[in-house]
């Protein structure tokens, strides 16, 4: 190997170790007692079963997994539906107000969520939705970022396909469902990962709007166990793994499409 190549491999290897280390440490820490984690032990230990048992006692795992799955699953489907329709509409239909409305939407990206939290809470309280799945899902459905993402991706969608479909007598809804969606599947895959992960990891809003532990998502549950005055780091790491695995799974399942989607959907 040439010296330059060795250097390059060395550098890439270093970066890889750098980014993978936290995950390795999370896995190793899950097998150690809290006292060992505090002392900085980096070798696997024999406490995995105990930590898992402690975690399962502290958290109703099936329950919170179910909560997370419902919120993230339904949230993702609704968000993709609304945002893909919006992205399609913004790109396909010409109107005098199109760019102005879109610019207005873009402006909303600059409003921090913290500023929206109190009015949203009041709205949810008025709708009697506090402590319900809907209260977590609804505010996330119309995601400006995902609309923007779909509109950008739609720019690459061949208009000829739409024209041809129209000549064949398809309605606009049919074109969307039977032509646009299959062609844009990579975009949908990438958006699924982005939206699902955002919903799965969402912390602040579910925390504010969910009032009882039995409605908690996995992320919230992990954040509220093993804490307190004597944190149990072994237990916390088991929780961190439990919270990471499902997103990893989704990512690997959709990985190829995700990369395609990021590079541009239509070939």
């Amino acid at each position: 190997m040439k010296p330059v190549s060795i250097l390059r491999h060395g550098f890439v290897g270093l970066v890889a170790v750098w980014s993978v280390f936290p995950f390795v440490w999370m896995a190793v820490a899950a097998t150690n007692s809290s006292a060992d984690v505090i002392k900085g032990r980096t070798l696997p230990g024999g406490y995995l079963i105990e930590n898992i048992q402690a975690f399962m006692t502290a958290v109703d795992l099936p329950r919170v997994l179910w909560n997370s799955a419902i919120i993230s699953g339904v949230g993702t489907v609704l968000t993709l539906t609304v945002s893909a329709l919006a992205g399609y509409g913004f790109e396909m239909f010409r109107s005098r107000f199109r760019e102005r409305v879109f610019a207005g939407l873009m402006l909303m990206l600059s409003i921090p969520f913290a500023a929206l939290m109190i009015p949203l809470f009041v709205m949810m309280a008025k709708a009697k939705l506090i402590n319900s799945y809907s209260a977590v899902i609804l505010p996330m459905v119309a995601s400006v970022f995902v609309i923007f993402y779909f509109r950008q991706a739609t720019k690459a969608f061949p208009r000829e396909l739409r024209d041809a479909a129209k000549i064949d007598g398809l309605s606009e809804w049919q074109i969307f469902a039977f032509v646009y969606v299959p062609v844009m599947r990579s975009t949908f895959a990438a958006a699924t990962i982005i939206v699902f992960m955002a919903n799965w990891n969402n912390y602040l809003w579910p925390l504010v709007v969910l009032q009882t532990n039995d409605k908690f998502t996995l992320t919230l549950a992990v954040a509220s166990v093993g804490i307190g005055y004597t944190p149990d780091y072994g237990l916390i790491m088991v929780g961190a793994i439990a919270a990471t695995l499902p997103t990893l799974l989704i990512f690997f399942l959709l990985q190829r499409r995700f990369v395609e989607g990021m590079l541009g959907a239509v070939k």
Binding site: V122, A125, A223
Partner: protein
């Protein structure tokens, strides 16, 4: 009168009847009390035990506890109170003492005053002070953050220091001891996280000082306690006996692994220290050192601690107050139970006459540690946290690098003051 208004009148009448019934039923009415707190092994566990006692005389009542991370709970409560929505709030909530004034002043009317319900003369004065606004006290004081100087008596003993040598000393004396111990054992005395205001706050409060006066006005300039704290802290950290650490795990890891030999902090650390059963008999607790040359400085201080509050709009307000009053406000045996089982040092001063408080602890070499802690608890100078303690802490921590690099204390005080004043505007 139309059918509609007839139904309306009828239902109004029924409502009146049922609410009269509810009132006359009083304490016999079954209540499901809800509580928000943050530690299932500590405050949640003690709450369950208190309720078990209460349930003996109120078998109809039930208790539901929801757990949140402490900071998360504060954020959640802040958002909900700011939104002015009381739906879904619990009957009782646990609030950290350092946050109490902030909530009480920012959301007047949100919490129920308990001044007429509880005998506050029997509670630790510093705990009552943090929950009092305009003469009304709002809390059922719970765990104390009374501080102690926890040290490895075995290793300090080998270096020639006994418990008597650490009793009622100043910080400068501790530095001398630490340097001698370092020379003899090669080990540093204290782990300190220099991004944490805690170690300075304990010093400042031990002299009855704080960033604010009783009215909440900043007293950062011309503050003898703060000045002495900054000077002492700089001397301490730069004396060579302090190991700088980063974050909570490294801090606790340092003294539980034997890398450093002691720490000064709130009594709630006891659980973390005693979790290392192999170190039984090797630890002892002394009162924390005091600031030299500041009038009113004592060998007692406070860090942390929390209290129970009842929401003014709580669905079971009367039951919640009755419960807190009967068990938390009066049951001395209950306080012995949670001391032994949870290591919780309560704030009801009469509880210290009970059996558990008198007992010695073999982990701490047979010292009557709980008796000592409750003595120090009664000596803590009361202070007013005000609304802006968090902001002042941030300003203080921001100046610590300059302080430890040998910066001028006057300039540092000016900088802290300027930042706090700007935040308050």
């Amino acid at each position: 009168m139309g059918v509609r208004s007839k139904i309306w009148t009828k239902s109004l009448g029924m409502m009146a009847v049922s609410s009269t019934l509810a009132l006359s039923a009083g304490a016999g009415w079954a209540a499901d009390l809800t509580v928000w707190c943050w530690d299932p092994n500590f405050n949640g566990s003690t709450m369950e035990k208190a309720f078990a006692i209460y349930q003996a005389s109120h078998p109809e009542d039930t208790l539901t506890i929801e757990y949140f991370d402490k900071t998360a709970l504060e954020q959640k409560m802040q958002t909900q109170l700011a939104a002015g929505v009381t739906d879904g709030l619990p009957d009782i909530v646990l609030v950290g003492d350092e946050m109490a004034q902030k909530f009480l002043l920012a959301f007047p009317g949100a919490f129920e005053p308990l001044t007429d319900e509880l005998d506050y003369a029997a509670m630790a004065p510093n705990k009552v002070a943090v929950a009092t606004v305009d003469g009304e006290t709002y809390s059922m004081p719970f765990d104390s953050g009374v501080t102690g100087y926890f040290y490895r008596s075995d290793i300090l003993g080998e270096a020639g220091y006994t418990a008597a040598d650490l009793e009622d000393i100043t910080w400068d004396r501790l530095i001398e001891i630490g340097q001698d111990v370092l020379q003899k054992t090669g080990k540093q005395l204290l782990p300190i996280d220099t991004n944490d205001a805690g170690p300075l706050l304990m010093m400042m409060q031990s002299a009855g000082g704080w960033y604010f006066d009783a009215e909440g006005n900043p007293t950062i300039k011309d503050n003898a306690a703060l000045r002495a704290t900054l000077e002492t802290y700089a001397r301490l950290v730069n004396s060579g006996i302090v190991k700088p650490v980063n974050g909570w795990p490294e801090y606790t890891g340092s003294f539980t692994s034997g890398e450093t030999l002691s720490t000064y902090i709130g009594v709630w650390i006891t659980g973390t220290i005693k979790a290392n059963a192999d170190q039984a008999g090797k630890w002892a607790v002394a009162p924390i050192p005091r600031l030299d040359g500041v009038p009113g400085a004592v060998n007692a201080s406070n860090l942390g601690g929390s209290s129970w509050y009842v929401f003014a709009d709580a669905p079971n307000k009367d039951d919640a107050i009755d419960f807190l009053k009967t068990v938390w406000g009066a049951d001395i045996d209950f306080y012995q139970q949670i001391l032994v089982e949870n290591g919780a040092v309560g704030s009801l001063m009469t509880a210290r006459d009970g059996e558990a408080y008198q007992a010695v602890d073999d982990f701490f070499g047979g010292q009557p540690v709980w008796q000592n802690f409750s003595t120090w608890l009664s000596e803590i100078p009361p202070i007013n946290f005000g609304i802006y303690t968090q902001e002042a802490n941030a300003a203080l921590v921001g100046q610590l690098p300059a302080l430890l690099a040998g910066g001028d204390v006057d300039e540092i005080i000016d900088a802290i003051d300027a930042q706090v004043q700007a935040q308050i505007q």
